[in-house]
Structures are given as C-alpha cells and as structure tokens.
Symmetry: C2
Subunit: 275 residues, 2 copies
C-alpha cells in the first residue's frame, strides 16, 4: 500500500517514511500521539507529527544523551530524566551500577503507556525497580527540588508546545539549583544546520550559569539533517577530562570510550556558534 | 507556490525540499540533469532525481573528500578527480600549494557546463590554470595510466547507472596501478545506516589491494540519514599518523586539524562492518 508518513522537519524540508500500518493513535491532553510501523525504521513514536524515536535508530540518541553525562560524573547515584517517556534513556541509565534511583518526569502519561504497550525494546526498563515515574511537569518538579540530583537529563521534544519552557535560561537556573554541588545536566539541543540561533542562545545561557559548558554531537538519521547537538552544563566535572580507561563496556552500538571524546570535536562552523 | 522536489533516498524513505523554481533541466546522454533553487538549501544539483550537492551544505562533502586525503600525502603534486563535475572537490584541491596539476575526469560534460552556468560558488575553480577537464569515462582513464598520480579522488554518484563500475574491486586495482609508489585514493562510499553490505565489501576489497585501508565519516544533511562514509586506500601514508601541526588553515567550515582525526573514530556499529 502506498501509505507514507511525512514530517515537515522545517518549513521547507520534509522526511517521508513508507508505513506498513498505524499501530496506535490518540489525541492526549498534551499532544497528538501515534505509534506507526514503518518499513525503513520499524516502529516509530510520533508526537504532533514529529518523529521522536524509531526502533532502528533510537540507540544513537539514547546512548549519547545518557552515557556521556553519566560517565562525566564519577559516581552518579540519583538521576532525573525530564521527558523521555519512551524509556530509551532510562534503559541506558540503569546500566550504570552506581545509579540508585532514576526519576522520570514525563508530563504525558499516555507516552509512557504507549511505549510500554508498543515499543518494548525501547521501554522495558520503565519497569526497572530503580525507576520511579512521576507524571508531572518537569519544570515544576525541578523548581521544587534543591541539591537533589547528581545528573539531570533533559530528553525533550522540540522547543514548541509543552517543551518550550525546557529551553529557557530560567529553567537551566532551576536545574542548577536541583543539582548537587558536583552535579551536571545534559539536554538535547536540536540541529546545528537548522537551529543555529537556538544553539547559540542555549550555550550562552548555560555558560552563564555553569562553570563548565560543552556541546557535543551525534548522528540521528530521523532528525532534521541527521546531525544533532547536546548541551551539557556542569558544576565541577568536565566531560573532556574523563579518563577513557574508566569507561565501562555498556554493550552500546554508538557510544564508546573513543566516541565520548570525539563527540566534542566540532567542525568550525559549529564551534563558531559557541564563541 | 507549493512546489516540492522529492528524492526517494531508499525504497521506503524520501526527502522533500520546497522549490522556488527550476533553473535548468536536461536529458543528457548519461542521465537526467537538473539545477533547482530550493528554499532550504539554495541551488541544488540533481542527477537522475538524486541530490548531488547544494549550495548550503556542499562544503561538508567537498572539504572532507579533498583535505583528508591531500593532507595524508606529504606533498601531493598530481591529483585525479573521477566524477565531481560540479567542481566543488577541485575548488578544495587547488587550495593546496604543492598541487601542480588536477585532472578532472567527468563522463558527462553537461554536468560541468551546468555547474559553470548555475553553481558558480561551487564550480569557480574549474577555470583554475592547474585544472584540466577530461570529458571521458574515469574507468577508462584510470586503466590507461601507470604510476601517474599522488592522490586519486573518486567523487562519484551512487553505485547505480554510470557510476556502478567505480565501486568494483577491478577498478580499485586499476586505481592502485595509476597511483605513484606512495600514492593514495579516497572514495565516497555511501551511508552506514542504509548501505552496510556495500561498505563492508568495499573495505574488504580495498584492504586486499592497499597496505593501508581506512574509513572516515562526515555529516551531509541532504544525503540519506545525514551520515556519510569515505573509504581510503593508501600504499604508504596513514591518515591516522598525520601530524595536526602540519595541517594548514584552508578557510574550511567543516574540516579542521582536529576533525582530520576525529572523522576516523567510528561508532561500534560502523567499526563492526570493517572486521
């Protein structure tokens, strides 16, 4: 059947995937949620017509948003994930033996439910005993905490709709307060080809709040342009000085001790955004 | 106007770009050639409905296919480009002072003509006094040469139609013969997400012919998945042992001394293809 899903990645750029069938779709109080089965990427989670993750390429994003930050901290015990209701980030976090507790703060419980029902490869660690799911606004949760977390991971949708506040300086300030004295955070921060001004602004904001600010890259085929940025703010530990010899084997397909450092080596056109 | 250009990147994946207007189109003896003006990427060269290069992102591909190889050779004087009729690769090559002669072997003279007429930012070095344009089949040209070139760059279209032979072991054997005793070559070798078997086979072939075989990566937004591979075969010089201090500033936006090495650090799922 000639059924295609099309995402308008920018106003003038679209990606289309041939669809076997729609597995599930629902209008939640927050967004339009769908799980579709595609021929190229397997099952795909779609929110407001934007691809969030797919069974074929999710490993890149989830490994990179989790392990770079967790290996930068020498012994993360309490970790917060804001967003990330599909469970992929949590699945990577619980591979770290030092972690005692992961709080997943997802505003839309329907995302968690759909992931559990239809994306088990991605979501299975949502049932892990170390994981607590808080169905609430991450902005509110972070504002209420003081010196609580070692690592905070902002695994959000794009900066429109419910996630918009997760890209603000005020939020990063609250994140700093919610972290312990040697805590750090990482956030997905969009495309260096299509969101230059956003990346510049976020890096400036984070640099103003945290002693250490770093940007790193990973390649996610289903995101616009295929190249993605992550921004890290840290009170003390620097991802660039991590000893590769201390990085364990997590059975990862994209992340590795060598990639931990290579991801921070930026082409000049991206490095320029951070000046 | 709601005019879009759509490329079927794989059987089940498509990219679409909103089009301002078609600048030029022609059925040449080899392929369907078009230059279109897009809102997201500016002017775009399209061959047989496949995006070859765009004014916005061409720098990534052209810098990476040229400078990694040229800086691996300690003093390249004679350089051959197979394909690359748009001139972007040649533009980067002539930035190297040691280079005395660049032969561009393009099978389709209409590509050269269209690039000169409609893509001046990319093509301007085609008029450079060091550049000789040979309108001929690269396979034939390479077969006729013995010990001639320091560096050969295979800047081809995808491995279907006129370019198919440029991905064969027999061709790489001829490339080895056409190179001088310390020569090396580099080829664009498609996507690590969508062309795994091709990459494996090419790397095996090149490893069987050249003492040094290496794969490196770059991010080209308009290519499928946004991540692209390049394979290098070298008789003597190893790109991994190049001293960054010897790499000049070529005014590049993607390539840099640090990127020269970082491009070879492969995520495990790609490294695995080379075993």
């Amino acid at each position: 059947m000639g059924l295609w899903f099309t995402e308008r990645q920018t106003k003038n750029l679209a990606i289309s995937c041939r669809v076997k069938k729609t597995i599930y779709s629902e209008e939640t109080p927050f967004q339009e949620l769908a799980v579709i089965d595609t021929l190229e990427f397997g099952r795909m989670l779609v929110l407001d017509n934007v691809i969030q993750t797919t069974v074929k390429d999710e490993f890149v994003y989830h490994e990179m948003i989790a392990h770079v930050a967790l290996n930068t901290h020498p012994g993360p015990r309490r970790v917060l994930v804001v967003g990330g209701g599909d469970g992929g980030t949590v699945r990577e976090i619980v591979k770290h033996p030092s972690v005692e507790r992961v709080v997943l703060c997802e505003i839309d419980e329907k995302v968690v439910a759909a992931a559990k029902d239809y994306l088990p490869e991605i979501s299975h660690a949502l049932e892990h005993p170390k994981v607590e799911i808080a169905v609430t606004d991450g902005i509110k949760h972070v504002k209420e905490k003081r010196g609580t977390y070692d690592v905070i991971i902002i695994d959000s949708t794009d900066p429109v709709g419910p996630a918009e506040g997760l890209f603000s300086a005020a939020f990063y300030q609250d994140v700093a307060m919610a972290l312990r004295e040697d805590g750090l955070f990482v956030a997905q921060t969009e495309s260096p080809f299509f969101n230059k001004e956003l990346i510049k602004r976020i890096f400036k904001d984070v640099s103003g709040i945290f002693p250490v600010a770093r940007l790193f890259l990973a390649n996610v085929p289903t995101y616009p342009g295929g190249l993605w940025t992550f921004t890290m703010g840290s009170k003390k530990h620097d991802p660039l000085t991590v000893d590769q010899a201390n990085i364990k084997d997590y059975g990862t397909k994209y992340y590795s001790p060598e990639i931990h450092h290579a991801a921070f080596i930026l082409p000049p056109f991206i490095a320029e955004l951070l000046k």
